[in-house]
C-alpha cells in the first residue's frame, strides 16, 4: 500500500502546477472565454510542450502514460488552476476513444493530438438521451463505399475547436440497445454538418449538431460496426475519472480561497473564521473534501482493473463527487457572502465550473441508480 505519487508523476504535477499558476490569470481566462474556441491557444501549446497531453495516452498510442493515476494527477492540477482548455475532450474522451478503436489509421491523428495541433470532440449526447451511453437515435445507413449519417447531437463540448468529431450512431437495433452502436469520424467541415456553438457555464464552448445526410467513407468507421458500446463505456470511465480529479482540484483551490477568506475577512471586529459556527461548517467541508480525494484515488486505482470493479467505482466516485461538489460550491459561496457571487473574484468561476461537473457523464442521481444496480440490489 502506497499513497505516494511516483517520481515521474510528482515532477509532472510540480511542473504543471507551476506552469498554470504562472500563466492563468483572470485576464487570460476572460480572453480565452471571449475567443472563438473558448480556450487559449497559447496555454494549449504550453500544455503540449510540457508533455501533458502525452501523459493522457499509453505508449501504444504514442504517449507515455494513460493510466488512472496519470489522469488523476493531470486533472487535479487542471482543476486547481480553473483551466478551461479541452484536455478532457480532446485528450481523454475523444482521444481515448480514437486510441481504443482507431487502430493504426489513427496513429497520425493521435500524434498530432499529442503535439497539440489537432483538436477532437465526442458527439454522443442527444436531445433525449440525457446521460445514457446505450441510447443512440442518430442513424448511420450503409451506402456504397460508406455511410450516411442523419440526426442530432447536443451539448457537444469542444465542437467549436475540433478538427474531427467522433459521432456515435446507430447502425442497427433499437434506440436503447447497447449493441448496434458505431462511432464515426466526421470532419468538422463535412457537408451537411451544421454546428451551432455557444459558451458553457464555467468555461469552454459546446454546440448543437445537426447532421443532414452527412456522407462519410467506410474508413470513417472506427472499430467494428455496431460494437462500439464497450469502448464508449471505457472512454467514459476514463473521462469520469478525469472530471472527478478536476473537481477535486477545484475543491482544493476553493478550500484555500475560503480558508484564506475566513482568516482575513473581518466582521463584527474579528476575522470571521473566529466564529465557531463558521469554523464547524468549514470543518465539515474539509472532511468531505478528504472523502472526495479518497474517492478519486479509488477510481484511479480501479480504472484499468476488471470492468465490474471499474464500473462500481465510476458510479461511487461520481456520486460522491456530485454531493461533495455541491456542498463545497454552495458552502464556499455562503461563507464568502456577496463577494462569492461575483465574477470579479476567482471563486465565482471555480464554483460554476465545479457545479457543471454534475452535468457531464451522469449526475449524482444517475450514478446512484447505477451503484444500486451494481452493488446493492
Amino acid at each position: 500500500m502506497n499513497f505516494e505519487l511516483t517520481q515521474e508523476r510528482r515532477m509532472m504535477q510540480d511542473a504543471l502546477r507551476r506552469y498554470l499558476a504562472n500563466t492563468i490569470t483572470t485576464a487570460t481566462r476572460e480572453a480565452a472565454e471571449a475567443s472563438p474556441t473558448g480556450f487559449s491557444d497559447r496555454i494549449w501549446e504550453g500544455l503540449a510542450e510540457l508533455g501533458v497531453i502525452g501523459a493522457l495516452f499509453t505508449e501504444d498510442q504514442g504517449g507515455y502514460g494513460g493510466s488512472g493515476f496519470d489522469l488523476a494527477t493531470v486533472f487535479e492540477e487542471i482543476g486547481r488552476a480553473g483551466a478551461v482548455e479541452p484536455l478532457l475532450d480532446t485528450g481523454v474522451l475523444a482521444g481515448g476513444l480514437l486510441g481504443a478503436l482507431g487502430g493504426d489509421a489513427a496513429a497520425q491523428t493521435l500524434e498530432a493530438v499529442i503535439a497539440g495541433t489537432h483538436q477532437l470532440a465526442l458527439a454522443h449526447t442527444e436531445p433525449a438521451n440525457r446521460y445514457a451511453l446505450d441510447r443512440v437515435s442518430l442513424t448511420a445507413e450503409k451506402t456504397a463505399g460508406g455511410y450516411c449519417l442523419e440526426g442530432r447531437k447536443s451539448v457537444v463540448v469542444n465542437a467549436s475547436a475540433a478538427h474531427d468529431l467522433l459521432v456515435t450512431a446507430r447502425t442497427s437495433g433499437q434506440v436503447s440497445d447497447s449493441a448496434g452502436i458505431s462511432v464515426f469520424r466526421v470532419a468538422a467541415d463535412a457537408p451537411g454538418l451544421e454546428i451551432r456553438d455557444y459558451p458553457l457555464s464555467g468555461g469552454g464552448r459546446g454546440a448543437e449538431l445537426t447532421l443532414t445526410r452527412v456522407e462519410v467513407a467506410d474508413a470513417a468507421l472506427l472499430g467494428v460496426e455496431g460494437e462500439a458500446h464497450a469502448a464508449l463505456v471505457h472512454a467514459h470511465a476514463r473521462a469520469t475519472l478525469a472530471i472527478c480529479a478536476e473537481a477535486l482540484g477545484l475543491m482544493d483551490r476553493i478550500r484555500v480561497l475560503t480558508t484564506d477568506y475566513l482568516q482575513t475577512r473581518k466582521q463584527f471586529g474579528k476575522p470571521i473564521g473566529k466564529f465557531q459556527a463558521l469554523q464547524h461548517r468549514m470543518a465539515d467541508v474539509l472532511v468531505e473534501i478528504e472523502q472526495a480525494r479518497s474517492a478519486v484515488i479509488n477510481l484511479a486505482g480501479n480504472l484499468d482493473g476488471p470492468s465490474a470493479l471499474r464500473d462500481l467505482h465510476v458510479a461511487a466516485t461520481k456520486n460522491l463527487i456530485s454531493r461533495v461538489g455541491k456542498l463545497v460550491a454552495e458552502e464556499s459561496i455562503q461563507l464568502h457572502g456577496g463577494i462569492g457571487m461575483t465574477m470579479e473574484y476567482d471563486l465565482g468561476h471555480l464554483a460554476k465550473r465545479l457545479t457543471m461537473v454534475d452535468h457531464r457523464f451522469g449526475d449524482g442521481i444517475h450514478h446512484l441508480d447505477r451503484f444500486i444496480r451494481l452493488a446493492v440490489a
Binding site: 463540448v157 434506440v175 458553457l200 456577496g338 442521481i365
Partner: protein, 398 residues
Amino acid sequence: MDLTFTPAEEDFRKEVRAFLEAKLPERLAEKGRLGRHLSKQDHEEWHAILNERGWLAGNWPREYGGQGWSAVERHIFEEEMTRACAPRIVPFGVAMLGPVLQTFGSEEQKAYYLPRILNGTDWWCQGYSEPGAGSDLASVKTSAVRDGDHYVVNGQKTWTTLGQYANMIFCLVRTNTEGKPQEGISFLLIDMTTPGITVRPIVLIDGQPEVNEVFFDNVRVPAANLVGEENKGWTYAKYLLTHERTNIAGVGFAQAGLEHLKSIARLEQDNGRPLIENPHFAARIAQVQIDLMAMATTNLRVLSQAASGQAPGAESSMLKIKGTQIRQEINALTRVAVGPYAMPFVSEALEDGWNGDPIGPDYAMPATATYFNNRKLSIYGGSNEIQRTIISKAILGL
C-alpha cells in the same frame, strides 16, 4: 382552528385573480414563466398598471394612496401575483422607503416623495451595505459632514440592486464617529444625478449586472434630505429591515417554482421514461413539496399572529431560513432536471431582443442562471447565519 380563508378574503382573491387575468400583459407573464429578464420599461409598465388600480402599494395606508391591506390580504395578493407569473413589485420605493417616510419622514418629504414612488417618477435604490461590512450593517463608514445647508458625502456603497435604473438612493451614512457605531448613523435621501456619484455594475455568477457599487466623492446633499433626526438612522434602518422581511418566506415563489420543476420533470426523459418517475428524483421533489406544505402553514400562522397584532420575532427568521432552503433546493433540482442542457450559458438569450431559437428546451435556458442567482437568497436580507443567531438569542437569551 380553521385553515380556510374568510369569505371576504376569498372574494378579495377572486378580485385579484380577475384583475390579473384582465390586466397583466401576456408578454410580461411569459417572461416570468420562461425566466427571462425584465427591462426597466417592463417594470415601469407593470407598476403603472398596478398603480392605476391602486394596488401598487396596497399595504400603504389609504391616506398615502394605499389600500391599508391586512397581512392576510397582502399574502393573498402576493400569492396570486406569483401564480400569474406577474413581475414582482420592485421593493425599494414601495416596500422599503415608503413605510420609513410614512413613519419618520417630514410632512414635506411625505408630500413630495410618496406620490413620486407611486407614479413612477422616482426609481429608488438602497445604499445600506458597504465593502467589507457584510452582515455587520452598523459598521457604516460612508461619511456625511454637515456644511451649511448641505451634507458632504464621501464613501462607497455596494450590492445596490438595480442601482443602474435608479435616480434616487436612500443611504445610511455616518454623521458621528464617537460612541457606539449604531449611534452615529443617519438616513439620507440622495439624488443619483448629483455630481460626484459613480455607479459601477458588478457582474454576478449568473452573468447579470444585477447589483452595483455606488461611489460618493464629495457629493453635496441638501440637509432637507435627512430623514428624521441626525444620528437616529439606525432606528429607521431596523424599521425598514422589518418591513423588508414581509413575504420573507417566499411561499408563492416556491409554489410556482415547484410546479415549474414538476412540469420539466414530466417532459425530461430518463432512460426512456419521464424523469419524474425516477424514484430518487421523485423523492427529492416529494421532500421539498412536503417541506413547502408545512412552511406555507407556518407562514400563515405568522401572518395570522401579525394580523392579531403580535410582532413576529424569531418566527420571521425561521421563515427566512426555511423559505430560502426550500427555494434553493427547488432551484437546484431544476438545474439537475434539465441535464446536459444546464451547461449552455447564453446570457443574452434571457434578454429582450434576442431572437435566436432556444438551445435545448426553452425551460432549460434559465435553469443554471436562476440556480446561481438565488444563492443570494441565503446571503442577503440578513444572511441565514445572522438569522440563526437571532433565533438562538431569542430562545436562549445568551
